[in-house]
Point group: C3
Chain length 457, copies 3
């Protein structure tokens, strides 16, 4: 008589697992399981002609294979799930692991795992391993995408699969009940969802400033001075658009933080949700910042390239410059302008490096916020200063305003200047203290405390 509680036996020397399907994933999974010390039996439609299987594995019909193991891993496309109904009697009480993915989202009304559960109600379906590729299973842990999502309705079945995954060297994240299967199945299909908004903003800004500067520079010169300088589109114009977009996006990355602080100050509490648009915006700050860094990188390359351009090296151009006298102020101004730009870019790169997952994971929360907030605002300050030094006193000259439009760099200074001024207000001692208290959980309660509405919703 065994006094051991069910499921609590010491693991038998070599546990047997059943895999349905002898496709890529089935084979790779089987091979890895065999390496890890499990015994593997395949269930196949055509047990005698299913191609090469990992050495050490057996293959038999689905029914036979299902009878032998307590855990059956279903490595079969959903379209072929129909055969499962025949095997249903043998699957009663077993753990069925659904590893399937679809080729696109919303193909079926319910998730594959829920569909499988409805086909075999007597089994415990667990969704797992769908984020793991055959490729990464074959090529070992170093390159593997090791995160496995798990969901299912039976805790014991989930526990069995969790152990299995852990022994395979994968890291498991439990996503709850089987109703989360849809989300888990959609994960490998997603294509940068959090990058969409920032990419749209970047594209929009680039297009706007490209046409704005095209009109102001190239078309203006053509119409008013009858000169064809269209060749400037490729480098000069690009090198005006990129830094403008970069600076605006960097400031857009710090604007929601300032807005959130104002909202908290106005409401006197941190316990009320931000409006959805602000939440959404705050969640894509990292992406905004990284895109801004990309544009800054392009700006640096384009700028450094200037002296080897044909148009710049051409003697006719060089001769034009020969009239000026050496002016120390100009030397100071341009050198400062370059120097501030380089320091700003170096900090920019530093911010980019610290947002690499492995680096940011190694930072404590305080270190991360120091880098992203303090250094981030310093970067914004340097880059804004760089742009002001670029403009210098040109804003006073009427010739700057061709066709009554301000140049691009003036337009792009609006948002960063606003962000910096607001941030400056936030770090004033009195404001900082109130904000600190609110973020510690303090709540202002007063006659108007209950009635306030979200500021900008």
């Amino acid at each position: 008589m065994s006094l051991r509680p069910l499921g609590m036996e010491p693991p038998p020397e070599r546990e047997l697992l059943c895999i349905f399907g002898t496709g890529d994933l089935g084979r790779s999974l089987g091979q890895r399981l065999l390496q890890t010390g499990y015994r593997v039996v395949y269930g196949s439609r055509r047990p005698h002609s299913c191609g090469p299987l990992p050495p050490g594995a057996q293959v038999m019909s689905h029914t036979e294979a299902a009878q032998l193991a307590a855990v059956v891993i279903v490595c079969v496309h959903r379209e072929h799930y129909d055969f499962m109904e025949e095997v249903a009697p043998q699957l009663k009480g077993k753990v069925l692991v659904d590893v399937s993915n679809n080729s696109k989202k919303g193909l079926y009304p319910e998730s594959n795992a829920e569909f499988l559960q409805s086909l075999i109600p007597a089994a415990s379906v667990v969704k797992a391993f769908n984020t793991v590729s055959a490729w990464s299973l074959q090529n070992g842990p170093s390159d593997a995408h090791r995160q496995v999502f798990l969901c299912g309705d039976k805790a014991e079945a989930k526990q069995a699969v969790r152990e299995l995954a852990t022994r395979l060297g994968l890291s498991v994240l439990d996503r709850g009940s089987l109703s989360a299967a849809r989300e888990v199945e959609d994960f490998p299909l997603q294509l940068f969802p959090e990058w969409r908004l920032p990419l749209c903003i970047a594209t929009g800004l680039t297009a706007f400033f490209f046409f704005y500067l095209l009109i102001r520079d190239v078309i203006y010169a053509y119409v008013e001075q009858d000169k064809d300088i269209s060749f400037r589109i490729m480098v000069s114009l690009a090198n005006k658009v990129f830094p403008i977009v970069s600076l605006i996006m960097l400031s857009l990355c710090y604007l929601p933080g300032v807005m959130a602080a104002i909202l908290q100050l106005y409401r006197g509490t941190k316990y009320r949700r931000f409006p959805d648009w602000l939440d959404h915006w705050m969640l894509c700050r990292k992406q905004l910042g990284l895109l801004a860094l990309g544009f800054a990188f392009l700006h640096v390359l384009y700028t450094l390239l200037i002296p080897i351009r044909y148009a710049v090296q051409h003697p006719s151009i060089i001769r034009e410059n020969k009239t000026a006298v050496f002016d120390t102020t100009s030397a100071w101004r341009t050198d400062s302008y370059f120097s501030v730009g380089i320091l700003g870019f170096a900090l920019y790169v530093l911010l980019g490096i610290t947002s690499l997952p492995s680096v940011s994971n190694a930072l404590s929360w305080r270190e991360f916020s120091f880098v992203q907030s303090k250094l981030g605002h310093l970067t914004l300050l340097l880059c804004t200063l760089h742009t002001y030094l670029y403009g210098w006193n040109k804003f006073l000259r009427p010739s700057t305003y061709k066709w009554c439009t301000p140049p691009g760099y003036m337009l792009c200074l609006v948002v960063p200047s606003v962000v910096l001024v607001l941030k400056l207000l936030m770090v004033l001692p009195c404001v900082d203290r109130s904000l600190g208290r609110i973020r510690q959980g303090w709540e202002r309660t007063g006659p108007e405390g209950e009635g306030t509405k979200p500021l900008m919703a």
Copy 2:
């Protein structure tokens, strides 16, 4: 009659957890626990007006909530721990998880977790989750800071919390008994402790060389030649200081390794501790190297910027250069100088990339030491050679020694040259063999073996 050992039951379908406190962290933790399949009940001071809670969670008074669960997570600031004493009877024998952090170090005589334990001696306090932010819990695992430190006096209580954390997809690191709580609580408050010494060295070197070169270049020109070249501070001077500091810091990064080897050779054993300063120095080599890389990066940007500077492009400057005849040796020298510099910088960047946590974790120990030692010394060699080629035969000309001071690049060659010569001695076959044996654990024992003192302590 249950024959199951305590705590060994198969996990009940949906385990119930209690959370005290409905602040940010409490809500986020609750939401994540619910997603993972736990049931959650909140204990609150104001159960009827505590704001929005995750759907599916119940809220009641502290006393009621505490009675229902075996594990109580205390998401309350230490200042409000006083209410805990009222709940003490209900907490007897329960696992209390202290997740609190302080706003700065050394605020209280004992750690929050030890204070909580002293308030409720009958419960088993476990310190955990304090490094996890509400933000990362809400936004899932991809961006999360997943490392959780754990400490506590009762092994069973720790095991329960460890399981909980593992199911939440977090990775757990046991730090021992509850007396380690102080250290665990200080972790989120630390601000780059291992970067302090390298940053001080970098700041000191930068300041020293800035003023040294300011005097030698700008002030010398002003006093002796009555020329105002102060505009050179922004780019030219910076571009002298940065490479100097970079090279010195890179060599400081390899100096302790050589010193340690000498010490081991002198002592004839590796089983005696290095002096503390050497240990400390060796621990910050990575930071020294990364700062050096940062300075090298700035040097590259400043150098590439030279041709678009106002002062360089100005016709008066260009005209000055027009007298020389083309000299092939000079062409060879400057091209070699640039080429060696670029190759050195490329290796520098490679070293930087391999010190990213995710890259260095993917390397085997031998690969890592190959890159950091072999390639590192090669980088140092190339960068030193770059500086020697820059100097070339200028050290022979008396005009180099303005006011009898050597130029900055000569000063900065001292340390790297010493490191390279010492390293060269170390790889001589006879020295290398002795060192190899010592590092394998061999010990020289002799009449003088016992009496030796640490070489440089």
Copy 3:
């Protein structure tokens, strides 16, 4: 009478572990175990003179120490395993953890762990921790190489060691039975095995193009025009070789993918293995691409450096250029050439960043393949276009073909052009559909289906 199943007791308050050997690794491991809450006893040859041990650990003779613990960690070099036979009676039934490494591969006929098992057949040997260094154990988890490989023949022994490693904050990967110990022991000794082929290709291509261009440029000028332009070797020649090698290697990185697709189309199935050379090639695509990025990086630095070179700045050179008239087409062409090059390089860098382990792990499979395939081919397209724009109409001029040889950039356009044309064919709707079906698992069966041979084997 205890009803608890063996090995299932709740963990005793502080479990005792035995460590044989008081060297670096033994001490560090002991210290970490003590921190984690274990009790540690050392077994030593010389219990009274074995140097400083972590505070809290006891030290005694091997025999005494072995009797106390169920798990014995052997931190001793294989050369000293002989003493183990004396201790054999005390080790019966215990778990022996072999952590040893050798100084090079193939030193002994069998792995250390198997040798240990043969010495003490009555114990259960588990190979583990050999990839963990003393250094990383001492300095905590942030920098640690945390991956631990495990193998052994007894599942229970492995389970005990797995738990131990997990509590130390390490992540465990089970590699199967003790026969895998050789592979596990070889892991820390390997030196970039997957980089060898790409490095050979890079070296070969660099050497070939260096001598090819040396002959065509420098020696040709010397022989035919009697000019010594050997100083161009350092920068100009290097800056021709690097982009050529970079472009070829980038295309070699995408060639096997196209080949595999052709092979699958020809065979009408994906279930037959690719020839070994193709498999091998596909496995080193990442390394090929990263080396190509390295060469591209050098190319960018060398190019940006051009204007500050002595030979370029020299007035005799500048004067030569003064005759041309400004030509808008040339301005367009060179600016496009630069612009396309910069955009190509920026995408190149993006590809490099996404192949950092921590970044690629954060991507879903679809995102990863979007970046590496779509963006990768776009990068190849831009870089090829950059080279075509560089060549422009020079291929029509007879003076281009010095000594009847084509210039280097023409040679290097062959492979990328082939890859791009083939890839273009692959994305034609009809081909794409067939390929899609095959990759979904569809198999073409027909009279010739069985008889086909691998296309290029």
